[in-house]
Symmetry: C2
Subunit: 136 residues, 2 copies
């Protein structure tokens, strides 16, 4: 099981910029901004109208040494793809075998009700986030 | 009607790099590479397993002065989001009203059986492609 959950986009200020995205994407936004100290970021999610569409995640650096600060200094923008996967540890084994480098081991994420996320780089320099699906 | 159709990712060489994406994303790939001289690019599409998932489009510059050459020189990577829309001209009116700048007016696209595409920048510097849906 693997589904495109969201596309991450780094901005300077969610508060100042989210409304513009809502307008240009025709998106809906619940205005909920989550600060995750473990990720050094504030995040919020925009939903676009297509059924089953991946969400757009706006990511704003929070705190010194945020992992996205340097990306923002270079201009920000499209940053990562997040896939929801069944068993996270199993999936990380698969992607390591595919040549990816796991750069952040699984940890609970404030934005996803403490579900586990992990981060990896592909050999082609695509940054991937993996979100463990809700266990049924 | 508006659906996330694909996420565009700029690479140096589709032939050399597509297999890596297939592995790390667990994607399927029909190995069809389309050269579109109007876009100055070669493109190919990867499908990820989730039902209704947006595709990943790999984009390789083709020819002198390709619009993606400069982006590739800066490192390439995640480049644009493409939404499929009902009536393209109508949609462009909407996004202009939302403050976007249409940078390439509608033109037929080789990768989409000559369906019309157009390009726009949002104020927040997100590059959007719009693909006109098949008319029924």
């Amino acid at each position: 099981m693997q589904t495109l959950h969201h596309v991450g986009y780094v901005v300077k200020s969610i508060e100042e910029q989210a409304a513009g995205f809502v307008k240009s994407l025709g998106a809906t936004w619940d205005q909920q901004i989550t600060h995750d100290p473990l990720q050094g970021a504030k995040v919020t999610f925009l939903r676009t109208p297509g059924a089953g569409d991946a969400q757009i995640e706006l990511v704003e650096p929070a705190g010194d040494g945020s992992p996205v600060s340097r990306f923002l200094e270079k201009g920000g923008g499209l940053h990562h793809l997040c896939y929801e996967v069944g068993d996270l540890e199993e999936h990380l084994k698969l992607i390591r075998a595919a040549g990816c480098v796991v750069v952040r081991a699984p940890m609970p994420a404030a934005a996803f009700q403490q579900r586990l996320i992990a981060w990896a780089w592909t050999r082609e320099k695509l940054l991937l986030e993996f979100l463990e699906a809700v266990k049924i």
